[in-house]
């Protein structure tokens, strides 16, 4: 279990506030410029850039980020509950949907693996 002292709660809160500010800022930017990208994707790229530039230090966000990422799947539960309205689609199209999922997983599995291996063989084979 994690230590839930007052100091930790305080640290989590202001670190989460930094993450929240980057997220809201990115969403605002996407909307203002009309970029066809989700705000959270731009947010990841923005925070990564800020970390690389040293504007934000790792220890300014890592405590909150690590905690939130450990429980990231929790946020998916309430979204997935929405499936209760979609049972009919799965009943009607289960074969088509399964085919789509299987084919679109196996083909890229092979492509990603084969391309990486090929690039490696051409480069420095001793790397790995």
């Amino acid at each position: 279990m994690q230590d839930v002292s007052l100091g930790n709660v305080f640290r989590f809160t202001w670190q989460a506030a930094i993450l929240w500010a980057v997220y809201r800022g990115s969403c605002w930017f996407v909307e203002a410029v009309g970029l066809p990208l989700p705000g959270n994707v731009v947010g990841v790229v923005t925070l990564f850039t800020l970390l690389c530039l040293g504007v934000v230090k790792l220890e300014h966000v890592s405590h909150a980020a690590d905690f939130l990422l450990r429980h990231l799947v929790f946020f998916f539960v309430p979204i997935t509950v929405g499936l209760m309205d979609w049972g009919a689609v799965f009943k009607e199209y289960w074969l088509e949907l399964s085919t789509a999922v299987v084919v679109s997983s196996l083909l890229p599995f092979w492509l990603v693996g084969a391309l990486t291996q090929w690039l490696h063989r051409r480069g420095k084979p001793c790397d790995i």
């Binding site: 959270n40 990231l72 199209y93 599995f109 084969a114």
Partner: protein
């Protein structure tokens, strides 16, 4: 009683998550999916109480308030692994980009040409990326967020069950290549499987899952256009 509904639904969701997560940590298995099982418990209770999903929406909005900031936090592991990112820049960018585009196009094309409704096709496009990205990408093109999560989880479960065996079958033995493939195709669930193979596979998968989200978002307009306009 009415004003207590939302807090009670939040408590129910939290309890289901905490208990199933405990169970999973004790006996980890790809089929013991914490998201799906917790959602099934909550959904069953709602149906048992004859409550429509609309009644659950206030509770959902409270619980997902921190999802955006949490997702932005993915920059932290990306930054911690920036050394690997620099070392393998070309294979990472080329393979993850190709993989993300192929996954989107094959899934979308099969769904479209088997006559599925358009909102379902748009929900299956981002099925290879982490749920927060998939939900937002689906939403941008009139897909349905819960459907998108279902396809993401299905892909992740498939990848973590058969990914490692399939890659060996087709002769992919290089640990960097295996990690990238598992992370690109089957996001966090594939990353968990990659971590079981080794640390190098795990780190590469972790990088790939984040970059696949970025690439899928960037390529989504192209895929939607190829599959027949918005």
């Amino acid at each position: 009683m009415r004003h207590l509904t939302t807090p009670l639904l939040v408590a129910l969701t939290l309890a289901a998550y905490v208990l199933l997560r405990k169970l999973y940590l004790r006996r980890p298995h790809p089929l013991l999916n914490v998201v799906v099982l917790s959602a099934a418990v909550v959904g069953a209770v709602l149906m048992g109480l004859n409550m429509p999903y609309a009644d659950y929406i206030p509770a959902r909005d409270i619980m997902t308030f921190l999802l955006g900031p949490a997702t932005v936090g993915l920059a932290v592991p990306l930054y911690r692994h920036r050394g690997l990112l620099r070392l393998y820049a070309l294979p990472i960018l080329a393979s993850v980009g190709l993989g993300a585009l192929t996954a989107m196009l094959t899934a979308g094309a099969i769904a479209k040409y088997s006559g599925l409704p358009r909102e379902v096709v748009m929900s299956i496009l981002p099925k290879g990326v982490s749920i927060p990205f998939a939900v937002e990408i689906a939403r941008m093109y009139d897909g349905v967020p819960p459907l998108a999560t279902a396809f993401v989880v299905a892909t992740g479960t498939l990848g973590s069950l058969v990914g490692a065996v399939f890659l060996r079958r087709v002769g992919i033995r290089n640990p960097v290549a295996r990690g990238l493939a598992l992370g690109t195709v089957s996001h966090a669930q594939g990353t968990a499987a990659a971590l079981e193979e080794g640390e190098e596979q795990g780190s590469m998968a972790g990088l790939a899952l984040i970059l696949a989200g970025v690439f899928t978002a960037v390529f989504a307009p192209l895929a939607v256009w190829i599959l027949g306009g918005p």
